[in-house]
Each structure stands twice: as C-alpha cells, then as structure tokens.
C-alpha cells in the first residue's frame, strides 16, 4: 500500500464528507433540537458547528434504582455492555469512549469524526443487543469492578454508614440503593444475572440519544432509520422508584468508625415542598436559597458556625432536589477541637430553623439572586453548559429545562417565593443525624 496515496484519499474522503454534511446543514439552526425517531424514547441533536468532533451519548432511563437484584448489578452490566463499544471500529481509532451508571440512568458515549458517526451510533445501539460477553471476560471483569470499588470507596471508612443513613432518610426507597454495590454483592455477580437484568433495562424505547456536532435533522433521521436495531422487548419493564409520602422522623445516632481520623457530623434534612408552581419554579427557588444557606451572607450558616461561634472547623453543604418535590439539605461538618458533635448539630439545626422561620434578609436574597442569574445566563449561548444540563436532567430522570427557561424563572422569583419555599422545611420532614467518632 502506498501510504502517500492513502493519505490523499483519506483527506479527500473527509473533505467530501464534510462538504456533504455542510451542504445538508443549511436548515437546522444552532442549539438543541428534539426529534422523534423510533425506537428511541427521544433523540436530541445539538447542532454545534464549532464543536471539534462529534459526540454521541446513549442514556437508558434505568439505573441502580431499577435493579431488583444484587446491589451494583447495573454498574456491572454497564462494564460488560461498554466493552462492546470499546471494541467497535471507531473506538479502536483512538476515539474517546466511556460509560457511567447512576441511580436513575445508565449512559454510554463516544466521540467520532464525520465518517465514523454511523459506526459509532451503531456501536452504542449495540449495547441493547443481548448481552453475549465471553464468560471468562465476564468473570474477570468482576475483578475490575472490585478494583474500581477500591479506587472509589476503598479507604473511605464512612461509605457503608452513608449507605445505611441514606436508606433511613429515604425510607428504604429504591433511590437509596448504592450504585457501585458492596464488596460482597460484587463478588456474587454472575453473567447470567447480568444478562437477565440487561434484557429488561436496556430497552431503546426507554433510552435517549444525544448527538452533538455540525448536524441537520434530515440526514441524522435518515442515518438513524438505517441502523440495525434489536427486537423490542415483549413487555415493558417497570419499577416504581418514587419516594413514598414522607413520614416525619428524627433519627440521631453516634457511630464509632474504624480507621476514621477525626470526628464528623453528617446532617440530612429531607422535606416536602408543595408551594412551587412547577419543577422549574422549585429549582429556581432552591438555587437562590442554597446560595444564602451555605455562604457568609446573612441568613446563611458560614458566618455563625465558622466566624461568630467558632464551632465548625469546616463544613460542606448541599441543597438539592431528591425526587419530584422532595428536597434535601445535606451537611458534612467537623467541629473545632473543643466543641462536641452534639453542640455542632444543635447549632446547625438552630440556625437552619431560624432562617426557615424568619426568611432571608432582602440584601441576601438580592445578592444570591444576582449570583444565580450570573451563573445561568443564556447570552451568549454556551453549548457546553446547555448539553451538560440536558444530559444531567436525563441522567437523573428529570425533564430537560433550558438555561434560558431557568434564567427567566429566576428573574421572576421573589423574596416571598423563596421564603415560602424555606418554610417548607418546618413542615413534614425527616432529619437524620449521624455523629461519627473515631473508634478507640
């Protein structure tokens, strides 16, 4: 083979393919467009002329919460199915490829050049084909998952206690299941169990395809219609993963933990919110509230805990949507040397309740709202941020709401809205406090 000619032909091929795509690409504006193409539940094309490559994501709307078998089995399935993508022609050509599993989704993605696009999408679609991994590979892949477990959680003395605490907080709902499993559950995995669950969960009619690059609707639709697809499952797999109505609880425990170096307080507060007009409304109120609660702004926790009272050596706080209208405040804090975990827990709860009862000071609200608006600004359109928002929404079983829509919602959010949202904390809620002490 004369490589000089090969290079020339390759160059011409890429050039022609590029010109063809460009010529086809006259009618689809930049941005995110939703298509309806069978067998997928949805197809999003992100038309982005500036994107260096093409990237294709296939996300099944099923994850650990949909698992009715050993903890972590969907993650093992992801490893086996991803091997198929990794062995595809385009993956062998030094393309980026990876996969992930969450509580509510399983995703596979790969980058591609123009002329690898079809093979790449086909390789991702093949993750829905019956799982026919080589038994020896499947067996040794369990070792690889164990090494991943080591990498992610080995040496973290709290992770099993966190799993147990999450189960209490979420009333043993499916969403509390540990995504990667436990060492003992991983050691019990088998190819047969993986095949059985894979057949139920890897259904393309329950999957979303996202393609990013210089695209147009017509050519992508044609391309998708000409792929090879597995037969649709005879029946749809369904598993209820919602959290039941919250039963109020206050569960406090002190736990002596082996290999723990310092005292740590884990404070969870799960509460029902029914004051929002929509999920987007809730998201906007929560964003503004969180920007006060975990800051030095008046009404927040940082100033009293770390500056005025000197009770927290450090703390991290999050406030997020757990499910539909259930929100959680999660705080990890370490006390100053001469402060007890009981005192720290009391101060955190006292200040949170005070803010929920009194509402945010107007100056804090204004600053937090301005901050949130700056974080979520639709101009200039940032494709990276928008795609991240799209994939995150699908991964966590939420509806996609654009940055532009969120920005508008934030603009319309008032101090009264946020204060009403914060008062929800005083209603039906579950508080789980864990005081972790180093074992003697």
């Amino acid at each position: 083979m004369n490589f000089r000619y090969l290079t020339v032909f390759t160059f011409l091929g890429v050039l022609i393919a590029g010109l063809w795509f460009h010529s086809q690409n006259q009618h689809t504006p930049q941005g995110i467009h939703k298509l309806d193409v069978a067998p997928f539940d949805a197809v999003y094309i992100v038309n982005d002329d500036d994107f260096f490559d093409y990237q294709v994501d296939l996300i099944y709307r099923s994850g650990e919460a949909h698992n009715d078998s050993l903890d972590g089995l969907p993650h093992y399935i992801e490893h086996l199915a991803a091997d198929r993508v990794a062995k595809s022609t385009s993956a062998q050509q030094n393309r980026h490829s990876n996969a992930w599993t969450s509580g509510t989704g399983t995703g596979y993605w790969q980058s591609a050049t123009i002329n690898q696009l079809r093979d790449t999408i086909q390789a991702l679609v093949n993750t829905a084909m019956p799982l026919d991994s080589d038994p020896e590979f499947a067996k040794t892949e369990i070792d690889i998952v164990l090494r991943e477990y080591d990498e992610r959680l080995g040496g973290d003395p709290l992770h099993l206690h966190r799993n147990a605490g999450m189960a209490v907080l979420l009333q043993d709902a499916a969403l509390a299941r540990p995504v990667i499993g436990t060492k003992s559950s991983i050691e019990q995995f088998s190819l047969e169990a993986a095949q059985a669950l894979h057949a139920k969960t890897h259904d393309l009619s329950n999957a979303v395809l996202i393609i990013r690059g210089a695209l147009d609707e017509t050519s992508i639709t044609q391309l998708l219609q000409n792929l090879d697809y597995p037969p649709s499952p005879a029946s749809k797999f369904h598993r209820d993963i919602s959290i039941p109505a919250l039963m109020p609880i206050r569960d406090v425990a002190q736990i002596d933990v082996d290999k723990l170096d310092q005292r740590i307080l884990h404070f969870d507060w799960l509460y029902q919110v029914d004051v929002c007009d929509s999920a987007l409304d809730c998201e906007a109120r929560n964003l503004i509230a969180a920007k006060v609660l975990f800051s030095t702004r008046a009404g927040g926790l940082t100033t009293p805990l770390q500056y005025d009272e000197f009770v927290a050596n450090g703390f991290e706080g999050y406030q997020y949507l757990m499910w539909d209208t259930a929100f959680a405040v999660t705080i990890y804090a370490s006390p100053e040397p001469d402060v007890s975990l009981d005192t720290l827990a009391d101060r955190i709860e006292t200040h949170l309740r005070a803010t929920a009862e009194n509402g945010l000071p107007k100056a804090s609200f204004d600053a937090a709202k301005a901050d949130a608006l700056a974080d979520y600004t639709p101009v200039p359109f940032d494709t990276d941020d928008e795609v991240a928002r799209l994939t995150t929404a699908i991964s966590y079983a939420n509806d996609y709401r654009s940055i532009s829509a969120l920005h508008t919602q934030l603009e319309n959010t008032t101090l009264d809205d946020v204060n009403a949202y914060l008062r929800s904390m005083l209603g039906s809620s579950r508080i789980v406090i864990r005081k972790y002490m180093p074992a003697e």
Partner: protein, 456 residues
C-alpha cells in the same frame, strides 16, 4: 492560554498606551518600573479581570527554616480580614461580588492571585491592597489555622496515596528542607511554628520587587499599570534571590510501603523527565497520553485488558520545583498480582520506548490541543500561565518568534523524545503501598514512608 496565544507573537509595548489589541500578550512597563505581562480581552460575556503576582523564595532550600510556616502564612492571610473589615465581611464581599483573593506558596516562589468582575474593581482592589500591605496577624485566627493544618496532617497520614508520594519524595529528594516543605508532614515543625515566624516569612517575601506579574481581562494596559503600581507601592524593597538547586536521586528501585490496615494496593512508577528544550514538554504530554489514555493504550492494555489486574492507570507529568521534572503512572491493583503487574508494565514501557507507536497521533494531538484551548479560555488560567512563563526557566521567551504549541508537535519529535530521552524501565522508581509486603518480596520494604531514605 493556547487559544489566545496560537495566532499571535508577543508584542512589546513600552511607550504610551494606544488602544490595546484584543487577546494579545503584551509586555508592558508600569510607571514604577514593574514588568507586566498583560492581555486585554474584549469578548462578549467576559467581565472578569485576573491578576497574579509572584515573589521569589528560597525558604524551602534553607534547612534552618521551619517548613510549616509558608503553609501557615498563606492560610492565615486567606482567612483573616483587614484592619477595617472583619473576616466574615471580607468573605461576604467576595461572595457577593463573585470575586476571590488567594495567597499561595510553592517551592520556589510565593504569590497572590485575585479575580474580580471589572465593575467591582473599586470594591475588591482596596481589600487586596489592605491584605497585602497590612496583613492582620490575629492570634485567634493563627490558632485556628494551625488547628486546621493539624487536622489536615492527621487526615493525610493514613491516606494511601499521600503515603506513596511521601515515600517517593523521601527517596528522590532525601531528607532536606525541600522535601520537608513539599511533604508538610512534620507535626513537630507545625507545633513549633509561631506567629512571629509568619511575620518573618511575610517580611522576607512580599516586596515591591516581584518576579512575575500578569494581568488579564477587560482592563486596558494603562489601568493595569495603575492597578499594579497602587498595589505594590509602599511595600519594602527586599533582595530575595530565588533558589531551585536540589540534588535528586532517580535511581531505579522497588519500594514497598507496608500499611497493615490498607484495604487496597497502590502502585506508582516515577521517571526522571527533565527537558532541555521547552518544545519537548509538549512532546512528553502527547507521549504520556499515547502510552496511557484509553483502554487500548499500551499501559491499560497490559494491565487491564490482558492481566486483568486494575481498573485503570493514569499518567501525567509533575515537578517538585522549577529544576525537577518527572512523570508518573499510578493505579490501584490486585495485591496478589503486584509483582506480575510490575513486570508487565515494564515490558509494555520498554516496548513503547523501543518502538513508540501512537495510533491516530494527529487525532490525539488535535484533541489535546482543543482541551488546552478550552482551558485557556478561562481568564484566571491564562493569567496563571502568563505568570508561570516568567518563572519557568524552560518557558518560551518574548524573543521567540512564536510560542510553541501542541498543534506544531510532530510525531518525529515525540518519537525521538521517547526513544532517546525517556529513562529505561530499569531506571524507574517503583513504589507500592499496601497491606501485604510478601506481594513484592524483592522490594525494599518500609513501614513508614520516611524509611524510604534507607532504600537509596
């Protein structure tokens, strides 16, 4: 940085400011004579201005110095307020104005880095000035910062990666002050350090004569000069000379750090990776990626696909100071396969060194270049890079016609670098940490990272 630098050579503007060219690096001189690398950025949505100033330091080369002091100093200055504003008000101001101020310390230099939206200059710059010129040596905060750092030392003592890298440092750098500074694991030094030590550290560094200043963002060269002059005027003149001289030992070895209660085994390979031509830094970056990235890279093919011993290894370059440079491969492996893994990695490395093959090299280079460009699109990253190229002895200079970029690195340079300059497999420093020393029976076994000194 690269996005801004790709197309432009450095322009030198020494005279009066005219309209500043967009996204071009300029070498400007302030009225007080400070050399500044300045980049005016005029892009929709870009409002942040980032400033980085570095001063030379030889603290970490002086055996008589307490090496905990730079950590205490930087942490203290980051925590306290100003004479006019208590710490919580400073924190609140920075939060409200989406701004940040940070002091930092490294082996060869110390510095301050701050960033603010251009419409908040009058709110933030006075606070920076106050923090820099009149730091609050508050005993209460000194006690708190010391307590925080004590907790940090405690927490890292059992961390398997921290122990592995400690052992590597003791073996390569010996027991000297640079090792003590970088390891920051000496609890006695931390306990001995006093507020007076921090005052002494401050007084010996923060002068009116920094070694590197960079200003990036929507700020004219005229305003950048004024900002810098106002910031530095009034600081004392101190003749601190930077030092970077250190003896290193990269002799090939195998060390096992026995951590009885470890739940996993970590394996790392370290190679001396000094360069004499800055273009080789980019060649090394691509070579390391070619060797390690992806499931089908030589490294991961050997240990994951074939030996099935690891979830995956990563590789990258690092430096202890401006005169050392090394690369590492690191990952977690099944302990029972440790010896076999070392053999397999050495074989894969030797094969790669003898005949470097990187399939689709151009795609790898393009992707790496694009990632660098994405990173360079951030104002703060660009300011840091412009500061660094004034410090790094191997950075391109303004005398070069063009900065050298990843895009221009051809495979021949990469291949030659690997074949001719990378160390042989038997010259790699190999350190494993885990619960079972019999996994590597021919290693120098130590029970504390410090004992790696005895393996030299």
């Amino acid at each position: 940085m690269f996005r801004y630098l790709i197309a432009f050579s450095t322009l030198i503007f020494l005279g009066a400011c005219q309209s500043d060219p967009n996204s071009v690096v300029q070498d400007i001189i302030s009225d007080d004579g400070h050399a500044i690398k300045h980049m005016y950025v005029d892009e929709t949505g870009v409002t942040d201005i980032s400033v980085v100033i570095s001063w030379p330091s030889n603290w970490s080369y002086d055996d008589a110095k307490n090496q905990a002091v730079p950590y205490l100093g930087a942490s203290l200055f980051n925590s306290v307020g100003t004479a006019a504003m208590p710490p919580q008000d400073v924190a609140s101001l920075l939060s409200d104005k989406n701004s940040r101020i940070g002091f930092f310390n490294t082996a060869d230099y110390v510095g301050i880095e701050f960033e603010f939206p251009n419409n908040y200059e009058n709110d933030i710059v006075p606070v920076v000035q106050a923090k820099l010129k009149d730091p609050q040596f508050d005993p209460r905060w000194f006690k708190k910062v010391k307590s925080d750092l004590r907790t940090y030392q405690t927490n890292t003592r059992k961390d398997i990666y921290a122990q592995t890298y400690r052992a590597v440092r003791y073996f390569i750098l010996g027991e000297g002050p640079l090792q003590r500074n970088l390891s920051f694991d000496n609890t006695n030094e931390l306990e001995r350090a006093t507020l007076d030590d921090v005052k002494s550290w401050y007084a010996s560094h923060f002068s009116s004569k920094p070694m590197a200043i960079s200003v990036v963002g929507p700020i004219s060269s005229k305003n950048a000069k004024t900002l810098v002059d106002d910031l530095l005027r009034g600081l004392p003149e101190i003749a601190t000379v930077a030092s970077n001289k250190v003896d290193t030992n990269f002799e090939g070895t195998q060390i096992y750090v026995h951590q009885p209660d470890a739940e996993k085994t970590v394996l790392t390979f370290i190679g001396d990776n000094w360069v004499s031509d800055y273009r080789d830094k980019y060649a090394d970056l691509l070579a390391l990626r070619g060797f390690s990235q992806g499931l089908d890279s030589p490294l991961n093919k050997a240990i994951r696909n074939e030996l099935r011993a690891s979830y995956g290894f990563s590789a990258d370059g690092f430096r202890y100071n401006t005169s050392t440079r090394a690369f590492y491969f690191v990952g977690e492996i099944e302990g029972a396969k440790l010896a076999e893994t070392i053999d397999v990695v050495k074989m894969a490395y030797d094969a790669f060194k003898a005949d470097p093959e990187i399939p689709e090299f151009a795609a790898l280079r393009d992707r790496t270049s694009e990632e660098a460009a994405d990173q360079g699109a951030y104002i703060d990253a660009t300011a840091r890079s412009l500061n660094w190229i004034q410090i790094d002895p191997l950075a391109p200079t303004p005398d070069d016609d063009n900065y050298f970029y990843i895009d221009e690195t051809d495979f021949d340079r990469v291949k030659n670098r690997i074949k001719l300059d990378w160390p042989d497999a038997n010259d790699l420093v190999i350190v494993a940490t885990g619960p079972n020393p019999t996994d590597l029976s021919n290693a120098c076994v130590v029970s504390d990272a410090r004992d790696a000194l005895g393996c030299r």
